[in-house]
């Protein structure tokens, strides 16, 4: 008798998209502006210097990395803020009471996270396009890595939102987990510049593969072979989806 609730899934997806579009100054303009400010600061700090070992100037090097950082942070923020706001405002009961399967809920949340991440990246790159030559070397790689990054971070945001009891908990995850991992993912430097020990540590950071692969899509250069990293990225994304599905299904920290 149980049937799929595609309308419910689509409604939840639209709700999540409308939610961030209703506060677009906060959810789109501000993140894009922040990324542009980073870019300008590093541009003037680093001048015309080249990135060691990669034969590219810092400005060009930074653009895809910052776009990926903005995507990751916004995908995370979209799901985590929605979940925690739903908890605080008591709105999550409507998700729990609705005839939606765990898969439908997860798909809707992650799809909305992908949309927000994409919109932020497109706005960021569009604003920069008159000032920097943004080449696209491998569109498929860009789309794949962008998609995986949004799914992975949207999923982590969903899990963090389910775990958190208040906004403070979310801020803790953002500041102590997400921000360091994105900063250490090679957004601002080539990991080849790091000491051997930190390079090894970075090998275990999935965000590094996302940033590096995404950059490869634009510049055709990177610290790793993006084709070899694809399985890591897809595998981590799938693991995130399955984790979200399972945790929602058992009502983890949502149902008493």
């Amino acid at each position: 008798m149980s049937t799929m609730n595609l309308r419910g899934c689509m409604t939840l997806f639209k709700r999540e998209v409308h939610r961030f579009l209703k506060v677009k100054m906060q959810t789109i303009v501000t993140p894009a502006l922040t990324a542009i400010l980073y870019l300008l600061i590093f541009r003037y700090a680093m001048g015309e210097r080249q990135v060691p070992g990669l034969d590219v100037d810092y400005f060009t090097f930074l653009v895809p990395g910052l776009a990926m950082m903005a995507m990751m942070q916004n995908a995370f923020a979209n799901t985590s803020s929605s979940m925690i706001m739903g908890k605080v405002m008591g709105m999550n009961i409507y998700l729990l009471m609705a005839p939606l399967s765990a898969l439908e809920v997860v798909v809707a949340f992650l799809a909305a996270a992908v949309v927000r991440a994409t919109v932020v990246a497109v706005v960021f790159l569009s604003v920069l396009s008159p000032f920097v030559d943004i080449s696209v070397m491998h569109l498929g790689i860009i789309l794949l890595y962008g998609l995986c990054a949004s799914i992975m971070m949207g999923g982590l945001g969903l899990i963090a939102g389910m775990w958190a009891k208040d906004f403070d908990n979310i801020a803790m995850v953002t500041n102590f987990v997400i921000l360091p991992l994105t900063f250490l993912s090679g957004v601002f430097y080539s990991v080849k510049q790091l000491p051997e020990f930190w390079q090894q540590i970075n090998d275990a950071n999935p965000f590094f593969y996302l940033t590096d692969g995404f950059r490869y899509g634009f510049l055709g250069i990177g610290d790793t072979d993006p084709y070899a990293s694809i399985m890591v990225v897809i595998g981590t994304s799938l693991l995130t989806i399955v984790s979200c599905w399972y945790l929602w299904r058992i009502g983890w920290r949502m149902k008493e």
């Binding site: 149980s2 405002m89 009471m97 149902k255």
Partner: protein, 313 residues
Amino acid sequence: MSALEIKGLNKVYSNGNVALHDVSLSVPKGSFFALLGPNGAGKSTLINILADTVLATGGSARLFDQDLFAERNWCKRQIGVVPQEVAFDPFFTPREVLAITSGLFGSKPDDAWIDHLLDRLELTAHVGKNTRQLSGGMRRRLLVAQALVHKPKLVILDEPTAGVDVELRRRLWGFMRELNAAGTTILLTTHYLDEAEELCDHVAIIDQGKVVTAQPMADLMQQVASSYLWMNYDKPLSLSEADTLALADFKPRVSDTGVCLQLGKLENGQSTFHTAYEAAVARFGPPQDAGVRSEDLEDVFLRLTKKEIRETT
């Protein structure tokens, strides 16, 4: 046929608190069913289990003859819940909230029905406002509209009139009566017992996670509710041993102003009014004033729940 049949439902929270203990209930299809109990009795836990926001630790339930736990999503489409806590989505207008809720339940938003709900719940004038701009009472009415927007067959109202003014409360109940008359089963929890008595045709009282009684309202009032003869002497009375013995059949209670006697029925079905009155006059003389007072649901509720507390402590 029952709209809802609950058997042996249990809920033990992770802190060991037993919220529901072997609860069994039958809510007849088309009934207006009052679920009453003191604070912490387990009413909201029961409702939350039905709404799937709390997980049961044992027992079974059938909704319109389908297994509630096995056919969760089908059953969810049949239920509309007005939660006790006011919850609102600060990003949307009432109309958007209703369209979203309808969609989440898998129904295409029915604009005519949404307009009707907004009208009946007196939200039409506020339809373009953000929910943040609504007053507490308006938000609560919006919750009622959200519960009804997908046209459920069972509506669960968890204290829906808290914070709603008297006039609106009357109109809300009028609307609920109409829905009930049209075949919607309504399960209501409220602390306004006079409203429950007036509206509901069935009642269950739970206390400390257990069902104290569950039956048609009329049967409960007939079987449990008593009538009292009060006699005013304008002075405190005390009962001597002889008084207590003479009035034992009427369970006399003295007060600062007189005495109160519980009335019953004689074998021929007549009230014991005359016997009680004459017995009291024989002991204390004619009163200055006297009258009969029948117990209402609140009296019955207090009596039953206090009894239950005594039995378990």
